[in-house]
Symmetry: D2
Subunit: 342 residues, 4 copies
C-alpha cells in the first residue's frame, strides 16, 4: 500500500531489460552513441516534430531549469502557477540556473492557472527599467493538484503569453498521465497548443531516472548543450539514459503504463467517493489525488501499513496525497480501501 | 580496441546485478531508502571515517562543482593544476556552481602540481579588497596526465594550503586507479593526507553513472544537500545510484577492477616501450597514457579499428591518449600492438 | 510644483559646500581617506553603536542588495512586503547580488507588513530539502505606501523573525523622514528594535547620491567590502561620498530637512482633506502620499505645471503619488492646491 | 608629492563648477534629465558616432563589468591581458556580472597583448561542449603597465578577434591619456579600430566619479539599462554624473588635462633617466611609470613625503609605481627628483 509517490515505484521490466541490452560493448560517450541517436529520433517521430531538438537528463528539476534558463534572461520573470513544482519543490533551481530570474506566481483553482490572473500578472510586469521584464510562461501537466489541462486550455494560456512575445514551457513530469487522461496526442498537447519546450518525464512512470528536454524550435540547441554540460548534467555514459527511454517508449509502453496508473487512481477515487466523510480537495483526473477525511483516519491507515504524504486540512479533518503508479495493483487499491473502512 | 576513454566501457556484471536487485518493490525517495544508507555506511567504513558525510550524484562534474561550491565563496579562488578537469573539461561548471569563483591555474610537470608554483600562486592572491581571495585547493588523482600522486605528495600540497587556511578537495574520478597504483588505503590518500572533501568516482571504473561526494568534516552536510537539490542533482529514485555503489564496492571489486585496468595499461606501455620511435609524454602510472609516435601511425591504427583520442604533437610526430578500463582484455592490448607494428 | 519624487530635488547647499571643501588636495583612495573615517565615526555615534561597521555606496539599490547578500544564502528566502522596493523597483537586484535567493512576498495593509502574514510565510518556508529555506527579514521605513513603522512595530516583526533565527534588514531610503515622523532615535528605530543592518539613505533627502550601509554586528565587515568591490560599488574617490554625508549629518541637518519635507506633506494633505472628492489611499505619515481624485483632475494639474506620478485608480477616479522633499516650499504646496481647486 | 594614483587627485574646478550649475531646481530622475541627454549627445559627436548608445555609471569596474556582461554568455571566455585591471583589480567583478564567464589570460610584454598569444588562446578555446567557448576580447588603453596601444595595434588585435566572431571591449579608464599620447581621435582609437564598446573614463582625469559606457552598436541598449539597474548602478539623481562630464568635456578640457598629466610624467621620466641606478621597467608613454632603483631609496623618498605604491623588484633593488595627474605640478616633479637625489 505504497501511495507516497510514483517515484517510490521501481522501474518496469522492459526498462530494466533495455538497460541490460545497452550494457554490451563499447560506445562513444557524451551522447554520441547510437542508442541516444535512436531514442531521440523516436521522440521526434512521436511528437511529429522532425526538427525538434531532444536532449536527455536524469532529473525533472534539471530538465525544467535547463529549459527555462534557455528561455529567460536573468532580469526576466517566469510566470507559473503559485503551487508549481518549479516554485515550491526545486529549492530555487530556476533562480540558480537562470542566474536570478524571478518566478511570478499566478493563481488558479485546482492547480490550473487562471487566464485572467495570468493576463494581470503579465501586464503588471515590466515596462520600465525598474522592474523585471516578462520572460516566459511555464505550465505543468498533470498539475501539482492532480488535475489535467486539455490541449485547448493550454492553447488559451499560451496564446495569451505569445501575444506578449513570451515563449512557453511545459513541465511534463507526468506527461504520459496527462495524455492518457485526455486522449490527446503528444503533438496536440505541446507544439500544436503553443508549447516551445517540454520536459518529458520518464522517471515517475517506470524509468530509473531520465527526462527528455524537447525543443520544438531548434535555435537553442547549442546553448542547451553548453548549459547542460556546465551544470554537470551531461552523462559520459549517456547510453544508460537512452536505454531507459528505449525500453520506455517501445510499443507504446509509456502510455499503457500511464493509463494503468490513471485507472488505479480512478478505482481508488471511486471507492473513496462511496465512503461517508471523505471528499476530494481537487477533481481526480490522472494518478494523483488529495482526499480529506475525518481526524483519526491517518492513524488507522498507517497502522495498516499504508504509506502516503499527509497534507494540512481544516480543524477536525485530515488531508492526504495519494499517488498511484504503473506498479499499483488492484489489490493495493482494495487493501487501502479496506484499511480505510477500518 | 577501444581505448578512447574508460567511460566508453559498460558497467560490470556485478553492478548490473545490484541494479536488478535494487529494483524490487517500493522505497522512500530522495535518499531516504535503506540501500543509500547502507552504501554510504560502507564508504564511511572503507575510509575509516565514521563521521564523514556521504552524498551521491551521477556525474563527476556535479561531484566536483558541488563540493567546491561548499568550500569557496564567489569572491575566492580555487587553486588547481593548469590542466585540471575542472579547468578544462567542465565548461565552467565550478564558476557556475560557486556563483563566479575564479580558478587560479598552477603549473607543474606531468599533471602534478608544483609546490613552489602553488606557494607563489597562493601568496600572490588576495590581501587587499581589489583581488579575489584564496579559497581552496583542488587536486586530481589520477591526474589528467595519467600520473599518480602518492599520499606524501598530496600531504605536502595540502599542508601548504592549510598553512593559508585553505580547505582541500580531491577530484577522484579515477580514485580507485590511484589507490591500486600506490597501494595506499582510502584514508591514507584522503583525510590522512589533508583532504577535506573527495569526489569518489564510480562511473569510469564500471558503474553506469555514480559518484560519491565524501566530506570528512560534517559541517557542510545540509549546505551540500540544498545545493545538490537546487542544482537538480538529487535523484528521486536514489536507490539506483546506491545500487551501483553496492555492486561496485562489494568484496573489493572496485579495487580489483582498477588494478586490472592499470595492469592492462602497464602491459600496453611495456609493449610500446619496445617499439622504436614511440615515447611516452608522461610517465605511465595508472590507466591513462599519452604516447607519441611517427606521423602516419594514426592512419594505420584507425584502419585496424583502434579507437582513441588524438593529441597535438611536434612536427613529424603524432600524439595519442590511450585509456584502459576494467573491461580491457589482454587480447585488446595485443591486437593494438600488432596494429601498431603494422 | 515638482512632486514626482524626492530624488527630483537637488542637493542642499550644505552638502554642496561640503563637497567643495572635500575637493582640496590629495587623499588616499578606496575609503582610506580621513573624511570617510570621520563620517563613519559620526554615524556610529549617532546610532550609539561604537562597534558598528559602516560602508558607503552611491545608490539605495546597491545598499539594499549588498546588505541582503551578506544575510542570505542563494537557497534562502528574504521575507519582504509585497510592494517593497526590493521586490518591485530594483529589477531583480536582490536575486542578482545573492546569486538567486528568493523574495517571499508578505501582505499587509498600507505597506506595513502584517505580523500574522509574516508568521505564516516563515512557517511555510523550508523544513525539507525541496524548498528554499528561511533567510532574512527585510522591512522598509518609510514604507512604499508612505506610512511609518514605530520602533515597537518593527520590534514585533523582528522578534518574530529572530525566533526563527532570521537576521533583519531595514531599507531606510527615507530613514530620516521616519525618524522625524516618530521622534524615535536612530538606535531606537534600528538595533534596539532588532535590526541587524540598515540601508541609511542620504540621496532622497538632499544628497547627490550616497547611502550608508550600517551593520550593527561587525561580523560581515570583510565580506561586505569584498562584495562591494566585486559589484563595482567601491569608489576610488570615496571622499566625495563621505563629503555628502559630512554636509548631511552636520548639526542635525538631515533631521531638520526631513522634518521640513514631512511638514510640507502634512500641509499638502491638510489642504487636500478639505477638498471634496479627494481621499488618501493610505494614511499620510511622512513625505509621500497617494491621493485619489475625480477623473479630469490630472489634466488640470498638469496643465498648471504640476509634475508627479500617476497611479491606477477605480473607474471614474484618478490616482497620484505626491512626494515632498527638503526643497518643497509652502508656495509649491499652495500653488498645487490652487491648481487642484481649478 | 602625491604619485600614488591619479584617483588620489581631486576634481578639476571646471567639473566642480558644472556640478554647482547642475544643482539648480528639479529634474527627472534615472537619466531622463536634459543634462544627461546633452552630455551623451556630446560624446556621440566626439566619437563621430551618431547612433552610439551612451550610458553613465560611477566606477570603472561597473563600466567594464556591465559592458562585458552584455558581450559574453556565462559559458564563454573573455580574452584579456594577464595583468588587465579586470583580471587583477576588480575582485572577480567580470565573473559576478556575467554569471560566471571565464577570463582567459593572454601574455604580452609591457602590458600589451601579444597577437600570437591571443591567436593561440582563442584557437585553443571552445570547439567541444566540454570547455568554455570564445566570447569577447577586452583590451586596456593606457595599459596597466603604463604603455599605450596605437590605433593600428588595436586594430590588429580586434581583427584577430573578429575573425573568430568575437566582439571587442576597450577599458579606457585612462582613455584621454591614451589619446593625448598618440594624437589619435576618439573614433580612430575605438570603432575605427574595431572596438564595439568602450569604458570611457572620467574619474582618474579630474572627475569625482563618472565613466561612460559607449556602445557603437545600439543593439545592447535595453539589455545594458536593465543590467545597470539590476546592479544598483542606475543613479536616481543622474544629473550629477552628467554634470561631471559636462565640465569634463567642455572646450577640450579632458584632453588638455590628460596631456598635462602625460607631460608631467615625461618630465619626471626624463629626470629619472639622468640618475644613475634607475631604470624603467616599462616604456613611459602616458602618465604611469614603474621605475626601479637601489634599495634604500624608498626610505629616503618617503621620509621626504613622497607617496606612491611599492612594487616588487629583484634582490638589491626596489620597485615603484608613480602616477601623475591633471593636478601634478612641475614643482611636485622637481621636488620628487630632489628627494630622489637625496
Amino acid at each position: 500500500m505504497f501511495f507516497a509517490s510514483d517515484n517510490s515505484s521501481g522501474a518496469t521490466p522492459e526498462v530494466m531489460a533495455a538497460l541490460s541490452r545497452a550494457n554490451d560493448g563499447y560506445t562513444r560517450g557524451y551522447g554520441a552513441d547510437d542508442l541516444t541517436a535512436r531514442v531521440t529520433d523516436t521522440l521526434r517521430q512521436l511528437f511529429e516534430a522532425p526538427d525538434a531538438v531532444v536532449h536527455l537528463v536524469a532529473t525533472g528539476t534539471a530538465a525544467n531549469s535547463l529549459a527555462l534558463a534557455c528561455l529567460v534572461q536573468p532580469w526576466q520573470a517566469v510566470f507559473c502557477h503559485r503551487h508549481a513544482h518549479i516554485a515550491e519543490d526545486e529549492c530555487g533551481a530556476p533562480e540558480f540556473f537562470s542566474a536570478g530570474a524571478k518566478l511570478v506566481l499566478v493563481d488558479g483553482d485546482h492547480g490550473l492557472m487562471n487566464g485572467q490572473a495570468l493576463a494581470n500578472a503579465v501586464e503588471s510586469t515590466g515596462g520600465s527599467v525598474h522592474g523585471v521584464q516578462p520572460g516566459a510562461l511555464s505550465l505543468t501537466n498533470v498539475t501539482e493538484a492532480g488535475t489535467v489541462y486539455t490541449p485547448a486550455q493550454i492553447a488559451d494560456l499560451t496564446a495569451l503569453a505569445r501575444a506578449h512575445g513570451l515563449p512557453c514551457h511545459l513541465d511534463g513530469a507526468r506527461f504520459a498521465n496527462a495524455l492518457a487522461a485526455t486522449g490527446a496526442t503528444p503533438a496536440e498537447m505541446t507544439w500544436k497548443a503553443g508549447i516551445d519546450v517540454l520536459s518529458f518525464g520518464g522517471t515517475k512512470n517506470g524509468c530509473l531516472g531520465v527526462e527528455a528536454v524537447i525543443f520544438f524550435d531548434p535555435a537553442k540547441d547549442w546553448e542547451f548543450q553548453l548549459r547542460r554540460k556546465r551544470a554537470g548534467h551531461l552523462f559520459s555514459k549517456t547510453r544508460y539514459l537512452a536505454a531507459q527511454l528505449d525500453g520506455y517508449l517501445h510499443d507504446g509502453l509509456w502510455l499503457t503504463r500511464a493509463a494503468h496508473a490513471n485507472a488505479m487512481a480512478a478505482r481508488l477515487a471511486q471507492g473513496l467517493a462511496q465512503m461517508p466523510g471523505i471528499r476530494q480537495t481537487h477533481p481526480v483526473q490522472a494518478n494523483v489525488m488529495f482526499p480529506e477525511w475525518p481526524t483519526g483516519t491517518h492513524a488507522r491507515l498507517e497502522a495498516a501499513g499504508a504509506v502516503y504524504y499527509r497534507c494540512s486540512a481544516p480543524e477536525g479533518r485530515e488531508g492526504a496525497r495519494l499517488v498511484t503508479s504503473w506498479s499499483t495493483t488492484e489489490a493495493d487499491v482494495d487493501a487501502f480501501q479496506s484499511a480505510l473502512r477500518g
